[in-house]
Point group: C2
Chain length 206, copies 2
């Protein structure tokens, strides 16, 4: 387990897999395409990850560990300072995803991979995500319940379900809106986040 060597091969596989999963889906991207893009040997995937399914899980783990941490950290900060409102809770959820998609080159494509996970009815993948990161959504649901006290539980869950859909879809860039020529990636993403918070807050509050 040499740190440098392991980092290089493992990380390059994860990066190439992430990009190809976003573009062609989990079944549509083959390990040969992944290893070719990563410029590593085909057998390296099974050596480092054991199987394709494990590779898929690791692609999620690499990003979601950090993303979930930032989201909950933001939420805790709001609760501690008493600044929790509908808009700030939404911001606590959205901004880390925004930063991730701007941070590294692969960040924005990961949001597409994440959106694909929702479309997959693959039960083992859903179980993996629910078991490892379900508590994040639970904590946020509780926070939303606190800032939307007039909604009963059933009503709140319906609206959160719709809101998550809007956020997932938008952050994955599935829409038709294109970045204008003079506009930077950062400016485009920040505008999207602003619209998302505005739209979703209105829908949740209505």
């Amino acid at each position: 387990m040499q740190p440098s060597a392991q980092f290089s091969t493992r990380q390059r596989i994860l990066g190439a897999a992430e990009a190809l999963f976003a573009e062609r889906g989990f079944a549509g991207a083959s390990l040969r395409q992944v290893t070719a893009a990563a410029k590593v040997n085909l057998a390296a995937v099974n050596y480092h990850f054991g199987s394709k399914d494990n590779l898929i899980e690791e692609v999620f783990r690499r990003r979601l560990d950090e993303l979930s941490h930032h989201r909950l950290e933001n939420l805790a900060k709001l609760e501690a300072t008493g600044n929790a409102s509908l808009e700030t809770v939404l911001d606590a959820f959205i901004t880390p995803a925004l930063e991730l998609s701007l941070d590294r080159k692969g960040g924005s494509v990961f949001m597409r991979v994440l959106a694909r996970a929702f479309a997959e009815h693959n039960s083992s993948l859903r179980r993996f995500l629910s078991e490892n990161y379900g508590y994040v959504l639970k904590d946020f649901a509780a926070a939303f319940a606190r800032v939307l006290p007039h909604l009963d539980k059933q009503e709140l869950y319906w609206r959160l379900d719709i809101a998550v859909g809007a956020l997932t879809y938008a952050m994955a860039d599935f829409g038709v809106i294109q970045r204008r020529s003079g506009e930077s990636e950062r400016a485009y993403r920040e505008q999207m986040a602003r619209h998302l918070i505005h739209f979703t807050a209105a829908g949740l509050r209505a």
Copy 2:
């Protein structure tokens, strides 16, 4: 081209393909799985549709022709009677999808297939959908512009993009909300449509 024979084999392939595409994706569902589920010979797909890609397009065409017609019909009726408002235009868009998902057994799974199409960056599939059904979205965008005159074009497009995401995601049943035990499929779907219109109208108007 005997009507009865053609109907039977073709239609059974389309039904089985629709279900398996919804469950496993376009790349994840093989023609052998499709033909086995449809109880037809493997070669029947290439005989009746030419290729897997053509089969995928036909799965969309079968539902979208009718769906688009109903949507535009509803919209035209609103314009003719002067009843066009934000809620009624949304209803004109959503209700046909609701009816489709309740009408036939395969209707609800088709909405999942449609949502998968958004996740696919497959350019030929996107081109097929845009060329054949893009005018529906264009007509509705114009209608929304009329009932939301205070929004400038750029602002409207942002919000419609988000709204389409919310609708697509929700109608595909990607969320975590489950039908309650005593609740009928129809009641569940109608409640979802009601929440969707309410949420989206608020987001668009805000």
